[in-house]
């Protein structure tokens, strides 16, 4: 993935403190502790992290909705904190909680938002694309979560932005809406928009991201393309998962092959990791055949982004634990 040229968003050393927090003796809490992130036009940059990692705070600082404590942010070359109307017209924002007035009707609201721009997208086209017509006459209060998400996405796009921020765009979407939204994001990317989105769903990140930055407790702990994070370009590690009766001694099956690691959690769900080859598959098949055991499922794959994410989260938690241990000693 080419990450050259001019970024549409450049965050360096972003620090954000909140507080004072009454429950912690009036101390300030550091939510972002030096975040560095760049996003480029024509790419989907995904900020991935568990709830509370600081994803939304990072976006809000980048959108100019929050005053940062330290660091620099350049959004389309300008500081979002002092954004003028011209900069805001080039940036579309979809907030996590929607930001839509409950008593409004979707198309009337979009028409209103469109009025803030000189050359907005035709509301009818956008509504068609996102399937808003089916509930055009319903007040936003009565829409389902997925329907509200689609309206919020339309509101972020109606001004023909160059950069869009999407905070948890797939939250609450049914599978069909999800496909519509993902297709639209792919189109926007093809049109050259810079797309920055947050998610805690690893599946979203795997499907959409050109670049993933993993945020954990206010730090970027890892970043790269999905392939880089998975290590698929550098290793031939594979994972075999199977479901079969509990408490099988699978180690016996692989006694004559290159070593593998085997785990069984929960009972009957086996995971076999290692540099797997056809020899491993043959050995397993022979062993199962000899015992007349037919697995209910058998799958060969790679490590998923979830595994990478869990490894990183665990390593980062242990580091933190070691750090606090030293401080208290």
């Amino acid at each position: 993935m080419l990450r050259t040229g001019t970024p549409c968003l450049e965050i360096e050393g972003l620090i954000h403190d909140v507080g004072p927090i009454a429950a912690e003796a009036g101390r300030m809490k550091r939510v972002l502790a030096g975040v560095d992130l760049a996003a480029y036009p024509g790419q989907v940059t995904v900020l991935l992290g568990v709830n509370g990692a600081g994803k939304t705070t990072t976006l809000e600082c980048a959108q100019g909705l929050r005053r940062r404590t330290g660091g620099t942010i350049r959004l389309l070359g300008e500081d979002p904190q002092t954004a003028n109307a011209e900069l805001r017209s080039r940036v579309g924002v979809m907030l996590q909680d929607g930001g839509l007035p409950p008593s409004a009707r979707p198309l009337a609201l979009l028409q209103h938002v469109a009025g803030m721009y000189r050359n907005p997208l035709p509301v009818a086209d956008l509504a068609e694309r996102l399937g808003l017509h089916e509930f055009a006459g319903t007040t936003i209060r009565r829409l389902s979560g997925g329907q509200k998400q689609r309206v919020a996405l339309a509101a972020a796009l109606v001004g023909r932005p160059d950069v869009v921020f999407l905070d948890e765009p797939s939250a609450g979407l049914d599978p069909q809406s999800r496909q519509v939204v993902f297709d639209l994001i792919a189109d926007l990317r093809a049109q050259g928009l810079g797309i920055i989105l947050t998610t805690h769903l690893l599946d979203d990140a795997e499907r959409l991201a050109d670049w993933v930055a993993i945020l954990d407790r206010g730090h970027i702990v890892a970043e790269g393309t999905v392939a880089e994070l998975l290590g698929t370009e550098t290793t031939t590690a594979r994972r075999l998962t199977l479901r079969a009766p509990a408490a099988l001694d699978l180690a016996e099956a692989f006694s004559g092959t290159e070593p593998v690691s085997i785990s069984e959690t929960p009972a009957g769900h086996y995971t076999i990791d290692g540099e797997l080859s056809t020899a491993h598959l043959a050995a397993l098949a022979r062993w199962l055949d000899a015992r007349r055991i037919m697995p209910s499922s058998l799958e060969l794959g790679r490590r998923s982004l979830e595994d990478v994410f869990l490894d990183i989260a665990e390593a980062s938690a242990q580091e933190e634990l070691a750090g606090t241990g030293r401080k208290s000693a």
Binding site: A85, L95, D97, G98, A155
Partner: protein, 246 residues
Amino acid sequence: MSAAPLAARVWQQGRYETLAMLRNGEQLVLMLVLPLIAIIGLTVTPFLDGLGASRIDIAAPGVLALCTLSVGFTGQGIATGFDRRYGVLRFLSTTPLGRAGLIAGKVIAVLVVFALQVVVIGGVALALGWRPSLPGALLGLVLLALGAAVFTALGLLIAGTARPEATLAVTNLVWILFGAFGGIALPSTRLPSQIAGIVAFLPSGALGDAARAAFLHGALDIPAAVVLVAWGAVAGLAAVRWFKWN
């Protein structure tokens, strides 16, 4: 250039906010029905007897002042409080409208709705025999617009610092208290002596006094105007300082 011109954005927002207020049933009760009940009530009862040539001369300026409390303080307070809860303020401030445009839109909505109140309530008052002098009416309308601004600043201050449920409760309670005992529709001389002394220092009493002096005598009640401007300055600065957008 991809943002619509400033005037177009603000006008768009003003129109949107105005329609939102007028489409809301509770807001209509507050902005038109209750003031209508007040003006009719005060002209058919003897509360205001002996203060002027006729009941309606005293009642009309006070009820118009009450209208500014309805639209600016309670109406905008509640609407803004809930918009803040639902993230509407944050979303709109990321569009070319921005925060300043959002506030300007609210000011337009308050002024348009107030103009509507003047037409409806003033029309009823004229039908009931109200005959203010032209210079007095012009001065009175300027003072009422100032009052609307002061009450809007106070409403936004509460909406921007408290939960919307609390804003709803406080702004409705204050409407009742100011309406009944705040010297706005009933002059302080008709209030119990314990509170008559302090109402002149409340924004409600100051606006009521200033409006009555203007419409009745064509005179500027300078102490009342000073109190009103002071409230406006304090509330405006406090709202700018403490208003939380999220």
